[in-house]
Amino acid sequence: MDKTINNKAWFLVLPVFLLVAFSAILPLMTVVNYSMQDTFGNNQFFWNGVGWFKELLDPSTDLGGRFLASLGRNLIFSLAILAIEVPLGIVVALSMPRAGWTVAFCLVVLALPLLIPWNVVGTIWQIFGRPDIGLLGYTLTSMGIDYNYVSNDLDAWFTVIIMDVWHWTSLVALLCYAGLKSIPDAYYQAAQIDGASRWAVFTAIQLPKMHRVLLIAVLLRFMDSFMIYTEPFVVTGGGPGNSTTFISIELVKIALGQFDLGKAAALSLVYNLIILIVCWVFYTIMTNAGAERRPTEGGA
């Protein structure tokens, strides 16, 4: 709050600004350019105005139908994994051992899925879920459950969701664990003297203290699941049919598969806009929460 005003600080930020602008603004301008045009190959482009955008938001056209369907699927997916990963992450963080070598062991194992390349995550679950050679698929099938993620929509969804839970719950757990670690012991001692129940300790001390990290966890998980591409693409390829085709998969299909640059660009812009808005909402909530809490906390 007591920062000095110094516009020369721009020189320190300039390298970052230039590098990110090179990678962000130039490509985005290409996208805007494409989104207004139509092409019939041979690098000939024709002005199309806002035609693509109109088509995109109209569910009766092919493009609009595909966009809105994949958007819907993606929202359901994001909400489902948030509903599982956030509570599970909190429970795992609360279950972490207190001290000793087990802490380091648990941290390393928890972080392990985060460091696996995304296509390998897909490969792992592709293998693990196969009824013929995978442990999960084999076990389910031998228990008499008809499980096949290649042909059954519901099984494909189940596989993609459990894969994401496997891949990313650790992130939520590690964030919550870090939030819990920052609670001073005195709080717990005070609670004990007051005779607070276990549940009261959770709702009155631990949850408020985790408030900030939880917000970040929800933001990151929402964003990353909203732009998920590689893992479901490797496992299901967007199928069976279109049942696990999320927005990014649809976008890559249109852009790199059909080379429909105009449509893809319009879709990209709308997609980016949604993300920007959600990001801004979270950022505002986060900075407001930080400003409110600062005076009482002394800058923890």
């Binding site: 920062k3 110094n6 320190l12 990110v20 279950s95 995304w118 296509n119 792992i124 964030l175 990001c279």
Partner: protein
């Protein structure tokens, strides 16, 4: 008091859930294809290292690992070098448009890679960097630089401002203060930031695959070759997968004591 009942069982079950699919991959990588396809075995009955030997002896395989490591390391170095001064600026000064700039940077961390795949392809082809590690390293900057700035800003802010002032009074020039005093003070922060840059660059596939074709092909793209006319080479695929997990596991082991601290700042 601050734990929950049955926590040992919960954490053990969760760790088993995390490790089981990885174990299955390791298990498969030591089997022959015949054993994988014909029988269901919980451990390799005829253990073989043929799958690994093929990767280590075939240049088109192991060069994939080298290519991946090249751009990951390049990207981590670039991100940290440019993020350090910016983090200092954001932490110490207010300047024209600082808040908007910070938000714009963060919003790029959230930008979907699928949006940028095609424009990046055009851009890097146009400037002649296509199919080099530089193209991927620069492309990954779009999400790693904002991340590094975000993490490092937290660590710089934890250094008391009096230290800067004392150093300048003692006649330190700005670059010298930066190199001799600030960087050693936030060394653990640089470690944490480097860890996350390494991680996000290592796991990304879509951009890395789009921006390379032959010479700089990353391992994740090479892995798709295991599909051949004679069907899937599962053992080879599993072995390649296991080898991609190892660099990450090594990095985690080295920074295990800092991970919690990095997350504590809530800036991932």
């Amino acid at each position: 008091m601050n734990t929950i009942p049955g926590r040992r069982i919960i954490i053990s079950l969760f760790l088993v859930f995390l490790l089981l699919p990885i174990y299955w991959l390791v298990n498969m990588s030591f089997k022959t294809n015949n054993e994988i396809v014909t029988t269901m075995t919980l451990w390799p009955h005829q253990p073989t290292i043929a799958n690994y030997m093929r990767i280590f002896t075939d240049e088109s395989w192991y060069s994939g690992y080298i290519n991946s490591l090249k751009y990951v390391i390049l990207n981590t170095v670039i991100s940290i070098l440019v993020a350090l001064p910016a983090a200092y600026a954001f932490s110490r000064y207010r300047f024209l448009g600082d808040k908007h700039l910070f938000f714009w940077l963060l919003s790029n961390r959230m930008a979907p890679a699928a949006v940028y795949a095609l424009p990046f392809f055009n851009l890097y082809s146009a400037i002649g960097l296509f199919d080099t590690p530089w193209a991927v390293a620069l492309a990954h900057c779009i999400f790693n630089i904002p991340l590094a700035v975000w993490i490092l800003e937290g660590f710089v802010s934890s250094v008391p401002r009096e230290i800067d002032e004392t150093a300048f009074l003692d006649g330190y020039s700005f670059p010298r203060f930066f190199a001799k005093i600030l960087v050693p003070l936030i060394a653990s922060g640089i470690g944490v930031a480097a860890f996350f840059c390494f991680m996000f660059s290592w796991v990304e596939l879509l951009l890395a695959r789009t921006l390379t074709s032959v010479d700089a092909k990353p391992i994740s793209a090479v892995m798709t070759r295991t599909v051949s006319a004679s069907g899937m080479d599962w053992g080879l695929l599993a072995a390649a997968g296991v080898l991609t997990i190892i660099p990450g596991a090594l990095v985690i082991w080295f920074v295990r004591n800092y991970i919690a601290r990095g997350f504590a700042l809530g800036r991932v």
